[in-house]
Subunit: 228 residues, 2 copies
DNA sequence: AGGCTGTCTTGATATTTATCAATCAAATGT
DNA sequence: ACATTTGATTGATAAATATCAAGACAGCCT
């Protein structure tokens, strides 16, 4: 079967409920591409010809303006990106680069729009994914506008702690300078912020994060269901 | 016909292409509600039972955390809100209050989801609206992360200028303290920022904005297709 | 191992932004 | 029209954050 290479994504929420026929139509003309690390795959301002899915590796979404750059998100296995631009056939608002050697599945935007119109289950899945990403972005904006950089860092540490199985000690999944950019601060400021969190129960050494006083950290970070 | 009161929204992009039958189903159980100014209609954390549409008046979306508040958007006639939470039957991430006396159309979330599943044209319109709002939020975030508050203000003034028919002189559509909150700054800082823009061709007096040197302002603001 | 490169950290300083307090101006109610 | 309230401005100061420069450290190459 020609779609065998796309079996890895068949089970994702976005594709799980659609018919075989729809999946075939969708993946006709789709392909897998290998990228080396640190390669810009998409530049903001280009037309979104393909829906992208990270099959393996790791991708950073970022944006630039007037010589400045900011990291918007880091995506891992099974994440989709540029769905909104794909659906509306618009320009990408963000750029994307690989952080590691990565395999990316690319599905022609036309196919996505075509199957959307014919398969109600796929349509529903698209809306779920869109809503999820939209809401994530709103949370992100609240985080930026309502919290200081120190508070953002504290909550980031808590969220990673939770993602990594509630371990009190874990490794940062990204470089610090990217984390700084993601949190809306400079690397220097991030470095100092880590130190300022020591009294709130966080000890950092290299990529290693150790939460020495979870209660104190939670108390300072005040994580919130509607932001984090 | 029982849906006569909803004729005002029938022509909106979100509802224009759907069948009569779908529109009837959608508006069954829907109603119009009048709110006085400064009334909180929705509090973040509540379940999104209704899709809201501003029929007349003006609504502010805002969020709070730990004694702080930030303005996320100001909506006028024909705007919909909480669409994402409605589609996924989730908690609202934002609160909403009227800024003026307003008429709001409220459509039960269940109806929206029901018709979404049966009317492909409505499904398409929903995705369009979701994508539009999502992309607007990404632009907003880029604006916040890539620009200083002075640059954000300069671009805001340019955008309003454009919205108000390219007039060089116009009235601010919102109170300054709300504008400050929307732009992610304090009222004091906004006040000073207006003064700092004088050398860049902006004169402010009360609600009145006068662009005395459009070239200079554009030169400073560097408006961008992918942000503004 | 040695050298190279890029990231991270630290210190000194400048800029941006917030806070607090006081005054001023404008809108509102009676 | 007056008093009252709310929002806007201004000044003085503090806090947060960025910038610049230097040094420390780690990973990588040959």
């Amino acid at each position: 079967m020609t779609t065998a290479r796309f079996e890895s994504i068949r089970g994702l929420p976005l594709f799980a409920e659609m018919t075989e026929e729809s999946f075939d139509t969708l993946t006709r003309g789709a392909f897998v591409q290998n990228f080396p690390p640190n390669m810009v795959m998409i530049s903001e301002g280009e037309v979104a010809d393909f829906l992208h899915i990270v099959q393996s590796g790791c991708v950073e979404l970022f944006s630039t303006w007037s010589n400045r750059e900011t990291s918007v998100a880091t995506l891992y296995e099974n994440s989709t990106f540029i769905l909104a631009a794909t659906m509306k056939n618009r320009l990408n608002l963000m750029s994307a680069r690989t952080l590691q050697k990565s395999r990316i599945i690319m599905i022609p935007s036309e196919n996505v729009r075509e199957v959307f119109a014919t398969d109600p289950n796929f349509a529903l899945a698209i809306v779920d994914e869109l809503s999820r990403c939209y809401r994530a972005t709103i949370r992100n904006m609240k985080n930026l506008k309502l919290r200081t950089s120190l508070e953002r860092l504290a909550n980031y540490i808590l969220k990673q702690h939770h993602r990594q199985g509630d371990l009190l000690e874990y490794q940062l999944p990204v470089e610090k300078r990217r984390l700084a950019s993601y949190l809306g601060m400079t690397p220097e400021n991030l470095s100092r912020a880590f130190n300022k969190l020591k009294p709130h129960g966080v000890v950092v050494s290299g990529q290693n994060i150790c939460i020495t006083d979870l209660t104190a950290l939670v108390d300072f970070a005040k994580p919130d269901l509607l932001i984090d």
